[in-house]
Symmetry: D2
Subunit: 152 residues, 4 copies
């Protein structure tokens, strides 16, 4: 689909928001690409991110799925809006066994209040990428609401 | 519901598995309670766990929802089984604005292959608890599969 | 939870809306109970409602889950509002093998714009009820929107 | 994706199963296309299928989403297997306002026990098709289980 952003600097607004999320720094997540209605986030493997078998924890996979969707949707919202995840559903298709987690999300519908996204999370191992998880997310646009902590 | 565990040391098995998840250590998660078909996990607030407004990141909330469900289900499985999350769906009901995140999960159905759980995640602020998120999870029991990294 | 309806005749409004749904008549569904934040719908078995094994079709089960949630939420909305289902997720726990399908839904959170419900669908066979399905639903309240077909 | 069916007559097996579902006849659903890992089902508009505004009821939309996914997955299963829906999640994107409902489903992953599908449901009005709903479904393959009612 071909989406049109509502203001010129949508990309910088997404990057600023991402950079304010300290949890992204903790897990080493990188915002790799932002286009109107699209977002890609990557997380390199680290032992601190693992579950009991030494693979990426499902919590990391769902974090990336949620965040990629959130920023894919945010890229299409008003300059003065904030975004919240209403809900998401995630299917885990293969173990997160590899050196890089890659989350890509596309907006399916950008409504006046709600935005729906679909995301795919891939795991790269020895140069090959495999579908690791798939999710579907509902976002809500909060008009005239700052994306920063107002009391900060 | 009243569930019966399949072996005596189910609680120790859950604790050992939880302790092997390095991601739980990274985010400061504590396994607070395990009963047959029930699990509770808590995460104290830390700035490294936040989203752009300074609240608990949705990724932390979904991590706790997923893990509480996983171990609620695991408590009812065979001693020689491992557990995987098939999928889950999470509704975010209130911002994670508080000093402690509390995830509680109950098994709804413990089938031969699949186990279904419902979880509630509460946020405690100034001593008061508020429902922050609610999820529904499908788990699969992998018979005769080690819960450890076999190559380690 | 203890919810307060926003106007006296909420029950009649729910009944009128239910009665305008011709699909409820086709499948023989009955609105059995409406309270603030709660709704119960029943469907007696009929061969025309079956899947390949002769049990209630999953489509009937999801219809009842969706409608019970929709009207549980609708019972708490403004007199001048209409309701739409944003999304729902349904786990099928046991085959719909029985003589009566019973769907019960409770509001989990009634927000200004969105309302979240949880539903349980039971199957009654030889007088015994068994949990057949469980769902979680997001509804949106459309303010100042008629619940009738305006062009009718 | 390019899936290979496990036996020659997979299409006839899907058709036979569909034809045993009396609920499909009640709502006038037609099995339009079956390929390995793909299924399309259509339902022409009828007043008996409507919700309170006179549009297709969400129950019909979810029925089509569920059934298209079930048969997309069934097309890849063993000849002696039966299929059950474990769970699905459906986002309703636009009102079902039109003359034909078109459900298309594709298998995302066909595992040994579980199969995951994504479905899109379109509504056709005055010759134009619009995305009406999107879902994600988990199926389970029951090996050596008849797809018919064994007591019949």
């Amino acid at each position: 689909m071909n989406f049109k952003p509502k203001f010129t600097n949508f990309k910088k607004k997404v990057e600023d928001s991402f950079n304010r999320q300290q949890f992204m720094e903790l897990i080493g997540a990188k915002l790799v690409d932002v286009k109107p209605g699209y977002c890609e986030i990557q997380v390199p493997y680290d032992q601190t991110l693992t579950q009991q078998h030494g693979f990426f924890h499902a919590g990391i996979i769902s974090t990336i799925a949620d965040n990629a969707a959130g920023y894919a949707g945010f890229s299409l919202m008003e300059e003065s809006s904030s975004v919240l995840t209403v809900e998401f559903k995630l299917n885990l298709l293969s173990p997160g066994d590899g050196e890089l987690l890659i989350g890509k999300s596309n907006v399916l519908k950008n409504g006046r209040t709600l935005t729906i996204c679909r995301s795919e999370i891939y795991i790269r191992k020895n140069g090959e990428e495999k579908l690791c998880a798939a999710s579907q997310t509902t976002l809500i646009e909060l008009k005239d609401r700052s994306d920063k902590n107002e009391t900060a």
